[in-house]
């Protein structure tokens, strides 16, 4: 409970809330498009840089197990999401597959919020985690698209390109490569731009995200309460699972909780772009509302502290 409140009262969560309030009170506050895109570019590139530096300091054999575990999560979560969305959520096959692609992938901002909450709560998280974000981003989307088994010519191919060359993965992997090649010492020269102000920039981004999420929540009624509940169930299930996997492969409780938050999160940058191209018949009103209007706020407020508590408890258990 304490952990929950501690998590809620943070600049990041409150900035998100402020964005939602801006919509509710019909403020004319508006983040210009160019600024929003600039913030995204900055955040993705900076996560990559930081992860790359961490990679350059991590022995390769330390990475093998976490990477394999992450791939396994990236394969399992879209399949379980598909199945749950079809049965419990009563979505048709196309919409279920499209939404599953989002849950199979990962939300970089949820990852960041989880890392920050972990730090604030006094836990430690492994430095190589940003690399896992890159690993987790791709497979889920591809499996989601395969589940739709679309016959559209070029649909999947274009979508694969969209994912791999899309700005999201491109900046993350590109930043990571630069960070790994340059190493800590050279990256130190750009740290005052990419490391120190990072969390403040994230706040501004969450302000905008709050506004977008509030707009999405308006679509709630159309989507219905049943589907919204599934949007809380999926992150809980995948998040607990991911946390458990993290502990079992020997990660710190902090790192395991972050891995859980990643597994439990739903992508809303890479996945929507790819899905829109490959599965245009699927309804963005469903997948965006779930990913951004339900699951993201759920993880931000309830999910992350839950995974942290569970990680602590499960580690004690498994010792």
């Amino acid at each position: 409970m304490d952990l929950l409140i501690q998590n809620l009262i943070s600049p990041i969560v409150l900035a998100f809330l402020l964005g939602m309030i801006a919509r509710w009170v019909k403020s004319d506050l508006e983040i210009p498009d160019a600024l929003y895109q600039g913030l995204s570019i900055y955040l993705l590139f900076a996560i990559g840089l930081k992860g790359g530096v961490a990679l350059s300091e991590t022995a390769l054999d330390v990475l093998v197990t976490p990477v394999l575990a992450t791939i396994a999560l990236g394969i399992f979560t879209p399949i379980s999401a598909f199945w749950i969305l079809k049965s419990l959520g009563r979505l048709n096959k196309i919409d279920a597959a499209a939404t599953a692609a989002h849950y199979g992938s990962v939300s970089a901002v949820t990852f960041l919020a989880a890392t920050e909450a972990t730090r604030l709560a006094g836990f430690e998280a492994e430095g190589f985690l940003p690399a896992l974000v890159a690993v987790l981003e791709v497979p889920g989307i591809l499996i989601g698209l395969l589940l739709a088994r679309t016959n559209r010519a070029g649909g999947i191919k274009a979508a694969v390109h969209e994912v791999l060359a899309g700005k999201s993965i491109f900046l993350l992997v590109g930043g990571m490569a630069i960070g790994a090649l340059c190493g800590a010492e050279k990256i130190a020269t750009v740290a005052p731009a990419f490391i120190a102000p990072f969390k403040g920039v994230l706040c501004l981004f969450l302000l905008e995200l709050g506004m977008v999420a509030a707009r999405r929540m308006g679509d709630f009624r159309k989507a219905g309460i049943r589907i919204a509940l599934v949007g809380c169930l999926l992150p809980t299930f995948h998040g607990i699972l991911g946390t458990a996997v993290g502990i079992l492969i020997g990660m710190n409780p902090g790192g395991a909780a972050v891995l859980g938050a990643m597994a439990g999160s739903a992508s809303y940058i890479a996945a929507p772009a790819a899905v829109r191209i490959a599965l245009p018949q699927a309804s963005p009103g469903i997948y965006l509302t779930l990913a951004l209007g339900v699951t993201f706020p759920f993880n931000l407020t309830v999910g992350i502290p839950l995974f942290l508590s569970f990680a602590e408890y499960f580690q004690k258990l498994s010792q």
């Binding site: 245009p280 018949q281 965006l288």
Partner: protein
């Protein structure tokens, strides 16, 4: 000498930017102008809020090319994507600048 031509204006979610530009090139237009816009329509959904808002793409072509473009756009994208299009009569000086290459 003024020449009567047709302007095709297409407004779509930004996902379609590349395909529409390819379509325009395929129909042999000599160029196009692209504006970043926002909009509301019957569907009212954008695929990605990161992808930016809508795009408006305008291209001036011969009336026949305009019809062909509109026809193909309509059959390829009207059903599944947030996209609309319209034609306007315009007149230009030096019409040859706008006519299909090699025709």
């Amino acid at each position: 000498m003024k020449v009567a031509l047709t302007k095709v204006t297409m407004v779509s979610e930004s996902t379609l930017k590349e395909p529409i530009v390819a379509l325009i090139r395929r129909h042999g237009a000599t160029g196009f102008t692209l504006t970043k816009v926002e909009g509301e329509g019957s569907r009212g959904v954008r695929a990605s809020d990161w992808g930016g808002r809508n795009v408006m793409i305008e291209t001036i072509v011969s009336p026949e090319t305009a019809d062909a473009l509109l026809e193909e756009l309509s059959s390829a994208y009207f059903e599944d994507y947030a996209v609309i299009a319209w034609l306007t009569d315009v007149s230009v000086l030096r019409g040859e600048k706008f006519l299909r290459k090699g025709s």
